[in-house]
Symmetry: C2
Subunit: 416 residues, 2 copies
Amino acid sequence: MNFSPDGTVTTPQGFRATAVSAYIKYPDRPDLALVVSDMDCSATAVFTKNQVVAAPVVVDRATLKANNSHIRAVLINSGNANASTGQPGLENARHTQALVATAVGCAADEVLVMSTGVIGVQLPMDRLQAGIAAAANRLESATAVSPEAKEAAGLSAAKAIMTTDTRPKHLAALVELPGGVVTIGGMAKGAGMIHPNMATMLSLITTDAAIAPDVLADMLKTAVNHSFNRISIDGDTSTNDTVLLLANGASGVAIDNHDSAVVFAEALTALCAELARMIVKDGEGATKFVEIVVSGAETAVDAHTVANTIATSPLVKTAFAGSDANWGRILAAAGRAGVAFDQYQTNLWVGVQHTDELQLVHQGTPTHYAESDAAAIFAQPEFMIRLDLGRGSARDTVWTCDLSHDYVAINADYRT
Amino acid sequence: MNFSPDGTVTTPQGFRATAVSAYIKYPDRPDLALVVSDMDCSATAVFTKNQVVAAPVVVDRATLKANNSHIRAVLINSGNANASTGQPGLENARHTQALVATAVGCAADEVLVMSTGVIGVQLPMDRLQAGIAAAANRLESATAVSPEAKEAAGLSAAKAIMTTDTRPKHLAALVELPGGVVTIGGMAKGAGMIHPNMATMLSLITTDAAIAPDVLADMLKTAVNHSFNRISIDGDTSTNDTVLLLANGASGVAIDNHDSAVVFAEALTALCAELARMIVKDGEGATKFVEIVVSGAETAVDAHTVANTIATSPLVKTAFAGSDANWGRILAAAGRAGVAFDQYQTNLWVGVQHTDELQLVHQGTPTHYAESDAAAIFAQPEFMIRLDLGRGSARDTVWTCDLSHDYVAINADYRT
């Protein structure tokens, strides 16, 4: 498998994309992305576990429940999440499906919609309608263009879905299978990283492999567990979080045997993990990328819970921002995760290249490390931490970033 | 019952206090508070539920388990939490008990210790020893002073236990009982309020009522549940959090019947609630005090869980800081609390004098309120929010503050 950093959702065959300015919120940039497949797609999605879900999540869930084998188009807008908008919001999301269907020439139940942005405000349907028409027009004229122009259009879509992101996140993977080469392309947007899941995380992944919907669903669940869920607490996600995977079969290669499925699933997971890491690195105001490993747990769930609690602790994350090797906060966060352990059996290491370069804590007691050595590691833009609980052999890894002054500036003034 | 805002732990009869500079961390202010009772005290404490607990918590738990009826002295230091300090930290805490016992003339198991400050650093025992000796000397010479001087000494103790607090927190209550008047005095320190429980919260409460230890324990548990736990997530507290209650009986009035117990318990709860509110109002960088009411829940636990999740949401709290009536974040936080509800049955109100002045959400859909009316409420230094889940009749209240730029500044640079 090879990654193509310039690749995106239009790298796989048979997918086209475009982005236009619908002026939903931003006055000066495209905010509407339309992605269309030339043929029917198998489709599956992983949605937020929040009890309060945005209208597009309600609508997409229902759409996919009725039809997971002939999806044709996805419309994504930034600037307005269509969340906490009540019944009018649901009607607007359904009306959006119909508008896209008419514009691209398919049925309404073959269209999925995603939204990200401010919550509690109704979508400006007139501007959205004009934007959809403009996007469909541009898309039509783009059918016979070069691969470069097609990829550029995919990149413009990745940019249009951004909110507080500072850069687009996209990637493609070429996967060699016995039956031939298939391509997976993806784009994502994220950002808010105090609780990573509290700013909307959207991702659209496309592939030209042919895959049955139920197989696709299993593969996406596994991939998300090892990627987006490593930056996101289970059950603790925003109102709009969605990862959507479309497979249109345009490559002529079918994933219909165990060996192909294993290779493809691995590539899908790797691509999702790379997109997830991009989200963390572009966390609001983030200046550091930190890998948190918890080992020696009794169960993988315990390890994940402790790692997540450390990764989302504001006190830990502000210490990262200050390049402060304040490991006591790491232990204190672990201690409130709700997982039983004996503090006098814990060990803690930090490192840049490896997790175990410098041991800071031995059996709950600080070692005689040099503060300057610890500070040198915490001053790096990327470093790793391993906490061993001394209870068992389960481990888990979570990625996080620091919490800087800029996070508060961004979120205090977000709506104004 | 009457509150005395100038009152503190020395307002009840038979308690003396002093504060000295032991130079544990702060170069220019007292950092060591010693409180002594002239007679044996019944004692009880509520400790942190964190798995990682500081040495003084380990030592006090053991001390109170063996002796809850003749406690004589409490030593509290700021600047160093004696947490994550391993076996040496435990030995230092026990040695501190012995040093205090010698200095004030009691047994080591009649002394309790509390610490707050940086974690992972051993206590400087030489400076602590000198500080304890100095404190005991000052205390001895203070036996025959005026009530005003005694109260001033109590105030100096309330100041000595501060860390990032900007002002001391103390209060006394005079309680009229059939058998006579008893006094309750208290002091507290807190501060970090993203997760309120993640900065150490310490409180010492004294009373000259005579109360049996088991009755005292029940009363404190109830009082803490209705006060400090309203600003703190259950099971999610710092390594050092402690609320300690001492009753020395010096008033000659015993709480030995149901009626007296009810009146006294109510006063104790009210005093704790007032101290808890002082902590929130002095949260690190806090500029707003917000009361979060969740009603219409199926159970009180559900109501508490949802209220806590809203109260600790960084996105909600940064919106408060920006005076932004971004109520969508309030619903989104409620939705990830792990409590089932139907978003289309929720109602949300805000107000300054009452919780229900302005309805923002009706059955999950925004009402046609004027943005300027909502903004006017969110711009106030104190306001209230009520979210009704539409499921049942249980409710709970939690107090929180905003998350401002200053919080990050304080916590990124705390150790440096």
